[in-house]
């Protein structure tokens, strides 16, 4: 795995990445909304995937006084060349550093996706059916988490993740009582007597914990390095951890910013 990778928050990769989010959100409900819409939903879903892959950060190279950011998986699709760097900041190390200040436009698709269930209700003039809810809530939850990541300072975000962890654990414990009581009322026997249901419940909860732990570890461990060029354009690079961030900042200072000294 690369120590540094470009983040798709600026230029064409930024636009494609944002658009792919919206397409995913739109395509999910469409796929269960009748045969005609199913095909459209599927097409949008795969276009979204292609856009997401085309804008995926691939490689960062520093040579000849410039930083080259390449995007695309499995092969290179875009290349952004950054020269004339006038500012560099490790946003995680700043007391009030947040992505929103530098990449305001990225927040628009996240907000659209977050409020998608509301848009659905507004467009249909009715509440979505219960089986439909998960399809609307998944993109909404992803959009909300990205919105929070962009809007909060990195210091506040670390605190937020800690409290979100407490909330996930306590909610799951409370939900267990609810599920057990619902099962008892529906089938007239305790859930502990049904090994199959119990194993599925435990597995589901384990998956939630694992997914959250992975997300929390990735989101809080990685550092975001911000670059600004002479034209005032901003670029973001992800570093896997603090040491990688320090190495990158030093390399950029010495090989790019000091080149004409």
């Amino acid at each position: 795995m690369e120590k540094w990778y470009p983040l798709p928050y600026s230029g064409v990769p930024g636009a494609l990445s944002a658009l792919s989010m919206v397409l995913f959100a739109v395509s999910l409900p469409l796929q269960i909304y009748g045969q005609n819409y199913f095909t459209l939903g599927l097409v949008l879903f795969w276009i979204g995937w292609l856009m997401a892959l085309a804008s995926a950060g691939r490689n960062v190279t520093i040579s000849e006084g410039r930083v080259t950011l390449t995007y695309g998986f499995p092969f290179r699709v875009f290349k952004l060349v950054v020269d004339g760097v006038v500012e560099m900041a490790d946003l995680n190390s700043l007391q009030r550093g947040k992505l929103f200040k530098y990449f305001k436009v990225q927040v628009i698709p996240y907000a659209v996706v977050t409020f998608y269930p509301l848009l659905y209700v507004a467009a249909k003039f009715s509440l979505p059916p219960i089986y439909f809810l998960a399809f609307l809530l998944i993109p909404s939850a992803v959009g909300l988490s990205l919105l929070i990541y962009f809007m909060l300072t990195f210091a506040s975000y670390r605190r937020f993740i800690k409290y979100a962890g407490y909330t996930v654990v306590s909610t799951t414990i409370i939900a267990n009582f609810g599920i057990a009581s619902y099962y008892n009322a529906a089938f007239g026997k305790p859930i502990t007597s049904d090994a199959h249901a119990l194993i599925l419940l435990i597995l589901g909860e384990l998956l939630i914990f694992l997914a959250f732990a992975l997300y929390a570890s990735l989101a809080t461990k990685r550092h975001v390095i911000l670059l600004e060029d002479t034209r005032g354009k901003h670029y973001a690079i992800g570093a896997v951890d603090e040491d990688a961030a320090k190495e990158l900042t030093r390399k950029i200072v010495e090989e790019v910013m000091m080149r004409d000294a």
Partner: protein, 143 residues
């Protein structure tokens, strides 16, 4: 010496604080646009070099460096303390070792120099109170 040549400093301040275009700077100084471009590039590179020297002397890692606004934030490798460095035009880098400072009689000249430098880089505009101005400067550096 940790200083940028006077002429380069002048060009850099015109571009940073007054947001002047290279063409306008060239017209004002009576030189070509290419000369201004070269001078700006070199001034930025030299300022970076000065900041890097300061970071090494203070055994610190760079958290933020901005050569358009003439400042840098450092984090000391041993203590983890934050250090704020600002380049004072005509004099060189000035280091602030604390986030809050009392601008009493002893510290007053230091505070005045720091705020004046920040003003010349366009980090802070008008100010009534020195301590508030310093708090604003640090706030802007940290966001």
């Amino acid at each position: 010496m940790l200083k940028i040549p006077r002429r380069m400093e002048e060009v850099l301040l015109m571009a940073s604080q007054r947001k002047m275009r290279e063409v306008d700077i060239a017209a004002k100084l009576g030189v070509t646009k290419q000369a201004v471009s070269k001078s700006l590039r070199e001034a930025r590179a030299r300022l970076t070099q000065i900041f890097l020297t300061v970071a090494e002397l203070l055994n610190s890692d760079i958290a933020r460096i901005n050569v358009e606004k003439g400042f840098m934030i450092l984090r000391n490798r041993q203590t983890g303390a934050r250090l704020y460095v600002i380049y004072v035009p005509g004099q060189g880098p000035l280091v602030l070792f604390a986030e809050k400072i009392e601008c009493t009689s002893l510290n007053k000249p230091f505070c005045e120099k720091l705020v004046k430098a920040a003003k010349s880089w366009g980090i802070v505009e008008q100010y009534d109170n020195l301590e508030e101005a310093i708090s604003t400067i640090i706030g802007r550096m940290e966001e």
